[in-house]
Symmetry: C2
Subunit: 343 residues, 2 copies
DNA sequence: GTTAGCACTCGACCTAGATGAGTGCTAACC
DNA sequence: GGTTAGCACTCATCTAGGTCGAGTGCTAAC
């Protein structure tokens, strides 16, 4: 579709624009050294590239900037695919060498490392508990009316919630039920817990236990969908350092969206479906506040199954090569780490 | 120190400036209605107030703005102390009527309500676990090399961390130790756990248990200081709506600091020492990035003891009356709620 | 003690001209 | 035919000068 020379020129323009954030003129391309044509020739090609929709011109007498289509072509065909520089790889390796003794810490820390390395905003989705199963269930009374329900998953995550104990239920009855649950529901996937509770244990419990109704209500509450996936955000303020977001009004909308957990979830969740690294440029993100942003996402897995995702948000004028490299290494290493952790 | 008229005029200037964010002239004060003097008279008083250090003039031919000292006087002597409007009180009441079944959710939600009501940034310090005691301890094996240590506190908070099991230790031994811990260490304050572990249980365990060293090392890790207080932030982007922070460079430093948990901790922690509501204006905050900000803090308690604090960060030109009212009601209600919750 | 009047100050805003980076087009060159 | 030098043209940015008006400080009158 594009001639070799056009690709070279497009590549040069995107490269320059990523560095300078300013419209690129034909003369500066000519001076770069890798495109050995005069400015006039380059101008002609640039006019063609603009007609084809790969470039845009802010105004008549300015240089060109890449259009969304231009970035897309750059990402798909031109971006130098180097699997992260050695210093970066080293930083990531060093990070994973640290001993972090809780999943939460690990993910949070990873988000920080990412935003520091890239100078963009990093968004991490904690591991989806959807496919994990129950390891242990416990009800711990705090006083005679409330208790803490503790759920430990097969991956070692611990969730807890407070429940109120129906006054009719005795301590011994509760213990009986908890034991029953542990013997029957261990290794059942979390999302099936509640249906199993009714189908398998319902009858048995109804026989042995008084106040079946109240008890079930309490257990229902205790096992309430814990699938609220955690979102970790880091380096949101890096947005402010980008020249395209010097204007407070523009950046406000973006930062507002970043404060909303459900929005972030929606943005990163679809990525988990696909595999590998995905790039969404400008309006390919649904929210119009992100029209001037690009989002690069990758997934990580436990046991061969994608359970969470990593995202880097920056301006469309993003250092794609660098970010792609870093994200590749990090998602691979995170997968390896977790696989090793939870055999 | 100030005449009644001077106080009236100072009050009017601060009031106006809080609303408009623009230097206040003598004419607009005169037109307000509550100060029945001509602009000329007011000008004379303003000159005096400036000499006394309560007002400042951005440049010769502009109106006056309050100095830090002016704000301080306003907050200490002039601010209309109304305990939150009825609509606001209602909103807060409605919030507490909601059923939230985990401490974490409650606090996080409270932070959101606060920032929404005030349009400033709210910072909440989760309850300090320092003075809470151990309710229950558990070690749950995940595989033959790792286990999850679960600590439940007297306030129903659940902490967990992953520990590695020394290969020499058998399951039965571990159970024995956990039972011992639960019988001996329950109701011991968390911060004393580790010392008690050594002092009270050391000898006994050394007698009964083989591989004492390795075991102790594991327990040490499991009981590792969990006192990392959680910080909840909400509405950080509200800073961007303030006209004094239209400039990205100014607001960047502030938002950067807000991303650092330790900084927030340091800022709010001292407040927990004092009692009641405190106002820190401008440079009274230690960080110079906050020189143009005011921080209003309040504490909340469990069982008569201050365990956490609430902060509202805004420009020095803050709606002190409104925020003070809201914060007063919220901290009182939060205290009541928690007291009720954890009898 | 209070107020009207007035000269003065100074930032905000507008306009006009200079500057220069960059373009599109044409004609000459290889 | 592809490439390039030359040139007129465009247009955002910058600067300087000028107007405007809000607000002051001072003086004199009430």
């Amino acid at each position: 579709m594009l001639t070799e020379r056009q690709r070279m020129i497009l590549n040069a323009i995107v490269d320059d624009y990523i560095r300078s954030a300013e419209p690129v003129g034909s003369r500066s391309i000519s001076k770069r050294g890798d495109v050995k044509y005069s400015p006039a020739t380059i101008r002609n090609e640039m006019a063609d590239l603009e007609e084809l929709g790969f470039l845009e011109q802010p105004h008549t007498s300015a240089g060109r900037i890449p259009s969304h289509k231009g970035y897309r072509y750059y990402v798909d065909h031109l971006v130098p695919w180097n699997p992260a520089g050695s210093t970066e790889t080293e930083t990531i390796r060093a990070f994973f060498a640290e001993k972090l003794n809780a999943m939460e810490q690990l993910i949070q820390h990873a988000a920080m490392i990412l935003s520091n390395m890239t100078n963009y905003t990093s968004i991490l989705l904690g591991p989806e508990v959807f496919h994990t199963s129950l390891r242990h269930f416990q009800l711990l009374p705090l006083d005679d009316r409330t208790a803490v329900a503790i759920i430990v998953t097969s991956t070692g995550q611990v969730e807890n919630r407070k429940v109120s104990i129906p006054p009719e239920i005795s301590v011994s009855e509760m213990e009986k039920v908890v034991n029953l649950l542990n013997s029957k529901l261990v290794n059942v996937p979390l999302y099936k817990l509640k249906s199993r509770l009714y189908s398998e244990l319902g009858q048995e419990m109804q026989r042995h236990i008084s106040h079946y109704e109240e008890l079930m209500q309490m257990l229902d509450m205790a096992l309430e969908s814990d699938s609220e996936q955690r979102v970790y955000l880091s380096g949101a303020t890096n947005m402010l350092t980008q020249p395209e977001f010097r204007d407070v009004d523009k950046v406000k909308d973006i930062l507002d969206l970043l404060e909303e957990t459900p929005t972030l979830l929606k943005m990163l969740a679809p990525a988990a479906g696909g595999t590998g690294i995905q790039v969404r440029i400008g309006t390919e993100n649904k929210h119009e506040a992100f029209a001037a942003c690009s989002l690069i996402t990758a997934t990580y897995s436990i046991d061969g199954e994608a359970v969470g995702s990593i995202g880097i948000l920056g301006p469309t004028r993003m250092e794609y090569a660098k970010v792609l490299g870093i994200l590749g290494v990090l998602s691979r290493d995170l997968t390896a780490m977790l696989g090793h952790w939870y055999k």
